[in-house]
Symmetry: C2
């Protein structure tokens, strides 16, 4: 018996079609793969094959093809379970670009413990399942992990990490400069950079945005001011009396020469500003301008906060393009690509009054 079964129904393979049409397997696959004309197969025969395929509900078996071609047609997105940064647009950019190349994205969350244990590799890396890996901003990737990955001989691209090779990430340094210069251009001189304390090693974006801000302020001959809010509230209870808003309010109340504009590292900091300002009856933007970094302009906030957008959609697409390049010509180091930050004007910035 040459035909397997599935759920009681016969499994339809290329062979089934051959049997059904009375042709050979080769002829069938030639037609199915579009080599029909090249092989000068009769129109009539082609029709017969296609008709049979449709009739029988033939679906090619991807595993079999993969076994033969050596390509699975998938890329894996690897990220740490606890600290995943996966905005919808990033996901969209990745799947979209992969799909345009007839590939799929496979998700592989990695428990953090694994990253520390140098002897253990996650299953997706221990097997030969994907054509390439996209490693997404694993905080403080251990060298041992990178080493293991390199030994795999599988093409790898890094996402949202500022490595010199094989990475795609937003140009946050220039973003920081842009944000500061934008406010300077509006006439502000007392501009605060607002970040947060974190419990883990700094992400490059935390450094670069701030440094870009510093550079712009320096160039303009303005005094740099920086404030760090307490770390994000980890638990429910702490959220109830949000320390972060409190710190922000205290700062705005007590600082001599109160800033007239703020560059916020991310949405979380911007929200703290909005709340503190509300509590202090400071009007935005009349009394205080606010700009932030984020992956999109979030309309649901009801306040269109002027946003320096880190183009995650493009980051995703570029990452795929870089990965495909590495799959095509393996073994070469590709210079990293930076994606420009883009300003989306909102309603929270205006020239300083008074």
């Amino acid at each position: 018996m040459t035909e397997g079964t599935y759920r009681g129904k016969p499994r339809v393979t290329a062979a089934s079609i051959a049997v059904h049409t009375g042709l050979s397997r080769a002829t069938v696959t030639h037609v199915l793969n579009g080599h029909a004309d090249e092989q000068r197969i009769r129109r009539e025969t082609q029709q017969k094959v296609l008709e049979a395929a449709r009739l029988l509900g033939y679906r090619p078996n991807a595993s079999a093809r993969a076994l033969h071609t050596g390509k699975t047609g998938t890329a894996a997105l690897i990220q740490s379970l606890s600290a995943a940064y996966l905005p919808e647009r990033l996901l969209l950019g990745l799947t979209e670009a992969l799909s345009e190349n007839n590939m799929y994205l496979t998700l592989a969350e990695v428990p953090d413990a694994v990253l520390d244990d140098r002897s253990y590799l996650p299953k997706i890396l221990r097997e030969h399942t994907v054509d390439g890996l996209i490693i997404n901003r694993i905080v403080d990737i251990p060298d041992s992990f990178i080493e293991e990955v390199n030994r795999l001989n599988t093409p790898v691209t890094f996402l949202n990490v500022n490595r010199p090779w094989d990475a795609v990430y937003p140009d946050d340094f220039n973003g920081g400069r842009m944000a500061a210069n934008y406010l300077i251009g509006l006439g502000h001189t007392r501009i605060l950079y607002l970040g947060s304390y974190v419990n883990c090693p700094l992400h490059y974006s935390q450094i670069d945005r701030r440094d870009g801000y510093r550079e712009a302020m320096f160039q303009a001959g303005l005094q740099q001011r920086e404030l760090l809010l307490p770390a994000d509230p980890p638990t429910h209870i702490e959220a109830l009396n949000d320390k972060r808003v409190q710190v922000m309010r205290t700062y705005l109340e007590n600082t001599p020469y109160r800033p007239t504009a703020i560059v916020a590292y991310e949405l979380a900091e911007a929200l703290a500003v909005l709340h503190a300002a509300h509590q202090l009856q400071l009007r935005i933007p009349q009394d205080l301008s606010l700009a932030m970094f984020h992956h999109h302009m979030d309309f649901r906030l009801c306040v269109p906060v002027t946003t320096f957008c880190n183009g995650m959609h493009i980051v995703g697409r570029e990452a795929v393009s870089l990965l495909l390049q590495k799959i095509d010509t393996p073994g070469v180091l590709v210079p990293s690509r930076m994606v420009p930050i883009e300003l989306i004007e909102g309603a929270t910035c205006s020239p300083p009054t008074g």
Copy 2:
């Protein structure tokens, strides 16, 4: 030559190990698959095999295994490109549960156009690439699409859609009741249900939450009040003068016997309430209590809004469990599972004052 090459380096297969150790292929795979003891293979031999595997950097080829077993070890998440609802916790629940069963999640976004064109099936459905499909809340799934999917003989689970079979979704009707009863329990009598107009067919959750609210109010002998905000602002310009907040404010200002509590359909509606209340100098919760539905308590808002949480993490896990069941015993209809809504108390609800 029996060994293929990849990037100039020899490709390591089970055969390589056999050659390297001087054993047969079968012995090697027996050891590799843990059938060693069962096959009573010498300890010493086992060691030799494992050692060689480690040394050569052997990684089993998933395609080859899949070809033989008929299982690829992946499930596809199918969703419409435009209206994807993919909270992180849902994704986490899915990947987590799949990973516990040694499976992966493959993402397959489907352009909306495809859903309308009954003759066209997305690539992932046209091929035999995954063991099962998880179809996520595709707004208004056309019957023709369901029909096509059923013809595939591939196990399917639906997510966030209230179908009687093969679906997993939050119990939004009971959620609506819970929310209303919670506020009633606090002593409120003037409770508003707040939704939004939408441009597409209603999602079941929009109906069920409201109906649950209605039922609870009816049971308590209280008057039902409902307000629909204008549709979400689609463009930047419209966001600048947010109609939604305006409508909300007008309502709160002008309604006789202003509600003392509001049940909001989702975060977006809750934010409109928060902003309108601010503008009207209404204190929350003293002057106005607020509860909403969402997939988690969003701490970044700085206001811990009392949240009726739709347990997307569990929904994801249950969907996988249901899918696995369908993969194991194909062809049977499985009754859908509803996931209970869970209350997470915040700081926006209190007994009415005055």
